[in-house]
């Protein structure tokens, strides 16, 4: 595993780098930033393509509208800010000026989930994907590592329509090599590991945790399937149904409120198409607090041990219901 030996790096860096790369080959790429380019990493693009970089100040609602206007003239704007501000401060603007007219706007955010740890709740975007998912026409993605983020940014630029991509502030271990860049398809989940006892469906920063949980489970004789559900919407329903039929028990894992994110999306599919026991790992409808990211994961029930426990519990329920 050469990949695993590389030093972890935040997915926001993948965004910054990818944006620069496509900016170099495609003149239509434009960046609209709300005064945090050094943090979102759009500063790289600003250095290379100053004429195509618009810093509109701490005014996210306007940023979305400006991007929509730019898109309507045939360019491809990437809006760059934090998850909380793009999805919540500008929620209605995303719905009305971007999603409803299907404007070709890409919204790329940093500071998704608990990764802004000690900045505290105001900067932790933990409901964003649920909100974006509720809005028709939106594509919602959270890559799990640097390389997949780059692939997602490339794919988003090619896709004609609104896309929301969520990045992390903190460094993430590498799970994919460069090869994924060509294979990456919006809406098609990736089965990272096979297993017949339980399916763990994870997204974003939680994918590496899911893999670790699967290894622990294997130690105690349970074979877990692990699915990287990088696209929350459109959800790869077939892989969920297949996994449910094959394993009969599902655990979802997300760095997000358990309401309306991955857990809900999978529950909707299972309830309608393949009712099997499931458990949702995520923030249990609560705000977190300030603290280091790994410590927050542990305190709020998103650690590897929590995934392992949930998997065992859900397998137990499967046995009982037989």
């Amino acid at each position: 595993m050469k990949v695993a030996n590389r030093a972890p790096i935040a997915t926001r860096d993948g965004f910054g780098q990818a944006l620069c790369e496509i900016g170099a080959t495609d003149e239509r790429i434009v960046c609209v930033e709300a005064d945090i380019s050094k943090s979102t990493r759009s500063c790289l693009f600003a250095q290379h393509f100053p004429s195509r970089f618009f810093n509109v100040g701490v005014a996210e609602q306007n940023a979305i509208g400006v991007a929509a206007g730019i898109a309507s003239c045939g360019l491809i704007p990437f809006v760059s800010t934090y998850a909380v501000f793009a999805s919540m401060r500008a929620c209605e603007q995303v719905r009305t000026t971007v999603a409803y007219p299907r404007a070709n706007v890409k919204i790329c955010v940093s500071h998704g989930g608990l990764t802004p740890g000690n900045d505290g709740v105001t900067h932790q975007g933990t409901e964003d994907m649920g909100l974006m998912r509720t809005i028709p026409n939106m594509v919602v993605i959270m890559p799990c590592d640097f390389t997949q983020m780059r692939a997602a940014v490339f794919a988003a630029a090619k896709y004609d329509g609104p896309v929301y991509i969520r990045g992390t502030r903190d460094a993430m271990p590498h799970l994919y090599d460069e090869e994924i860049t060509d294979r990456y398809t919006i809406g098609r989940a990736i089965r990272l590991k096979d297993g017949g006892d339980v399916a763990i469906v994870a997204i974003g920063d939680m994918v590496s945790h899911a893999l670790r949980a699967a290894r622990e489970l294997a130690g105690s004789g349970l074979e877990a399937m692990v699915i990287d559900m990088h696209t929350l919407k459109p959800l790869d329903e077939n892989i969920v149904v297949q996994a449910a039929l094959q394993t009969g028990a599902v655990v979802t894992v997300e760095d997000h409120n358990i309401l309306n994110g991955l857990g809900s999306a999978v529950a909707e599919v299972l309830a309608e198409r393949a009712p099997v026991p499931m458990r949702r790992i995520g923030l249990r409808d609560t705000f977190a607090e300030s603290g280091p990211y790994p410590a927050l994961l542990a305190k709020y029930g998103l650690a590897v041990a929590d995934i392992v426990d949930a998997a065992r519990a859900v397998v137990g329920r499967k046995e009982r219901s037989k």
């Binding site: 100040g57 005014a59 509208g65 730019i70 045939g74 209605e92 409803y100």
Partner: protein
């Protein structure tokens, strides 16, 4: 014929009168809609579509065209009539405002109606979109201009001021905002709901060049729209809500109510009788 030619002014007056009649018939047929704000904007919309804007109804998506955003989307009947009269689509569509399966939504929808440059209806967002279009124009080295028609009530929205700051930062001289200043919003007068004055001074302080005009005087509208500026331009158009129909003028109740048969006849007679 130059734009400010008296003949042109007369022509525009005639068109505006025709447009007002169509607006009323349209809202009457739909049994819902917003006549007050449509009528106050009618003259500005007429001048834009019949004299100022460089557009091609045969090619609504022409990349070089001037853009228009009706930020006060509820006034769309005026815009729909202008588009139909300019030939973007058949006049028969005007009978089907707000109908299921029709092309004329309750608020402007760029994906359903030829000639609509941007979807609007939720107040406060149109100026930002206009800023984006003006930036894109500069970036792609296209000469087009962008016009945004704002309602006075929507100036309460903070997003307007975000966009105002942004336009002045980038000195967008290809951007013109026009305020349809009819002094009435849904709950009452603008000064009573949320005072806007000193409006021109505010926009000046935000870095805009401001021109104040009578929004029903064709000549003034023409001259203001054509004046060159060094940065973004704001035209404060003093207007009358319900302009042209005596019983609607300055009556808040006509913000969002359709005329019945009798009221329509009365209104059409008034407009017909006007010289």
């Amino acid at each position: 014929m130059t734009a400010v030619d008296p003949a042109n002014v007369d022509r525009l007056r005639t068109i505006a009168r025709e447009l007002r009649k169509r607006v009323l018939r349209m809202i009457h047929a739909a049994k819902s809609g917003h006549p007050g704000g449509s009528l106050s904007a009618a003259d500005v919309v007429t001048v834009l579509y019949f004299s100022v804007m460089r557009i091609d109804p045969e090619d609504p998506d022409w990349a070089e065209r001037d853009r228009f955003i009706l930020s006060k989307g509820h006034a769309c009947p005026a815009l729909y009539c202008a588009l139909a009269m300019r030939g973007y689509f058949g006049l028969e569509h005007l009978k089907h405002l707000r109908e299921i399966g029709g092309i004329l939504q309750g608020h402007p929808d760029m994906r359903k109606t030829p000639g609509i440059d941007y979807t609007s209806g939720s107040l406060g967002q149109g100026l930002s979109v206009g800023v984006g279009m003006a930036m894109a124009g500069r970036l792609t080295k296209r000469e087009y201009r962008v016009f945004v028609l704002l309602g006075d009530g929507e100036l309460d929205e903070g997003q307007i001021w975000e966009a105002a700051m942004c336009a002045s930062k980038y000195r967008l001289r290809n951007l013109t905002a026009i305020i349809d200043y009819n002094h009435l919003q849904l709950d009452g007068g603008t000064e009573e709901i949320m005072p806007l004055e000193p409006l021109a001074a505010k926009w000046n302080a935000f870095g805009w060049e401001v021109i104040e005009i009578d929004g029903h005087e064709m000549l003034q509208i023409l001259e203001a729209l054509q004046r060159e500026t060094n940065g973004p331009k704001l035209i404060v158009a003093q207007t009358i809500k319900g302009k042209g129909v005596s019983y609607m003028e300055n009556v808040c109740d006509w913000h969002g109510r359709a005329p019945n048969d009798e009221e329509l006849t009365l209104a059409l007679t008034e407009l017909g009788a006007q010289v």
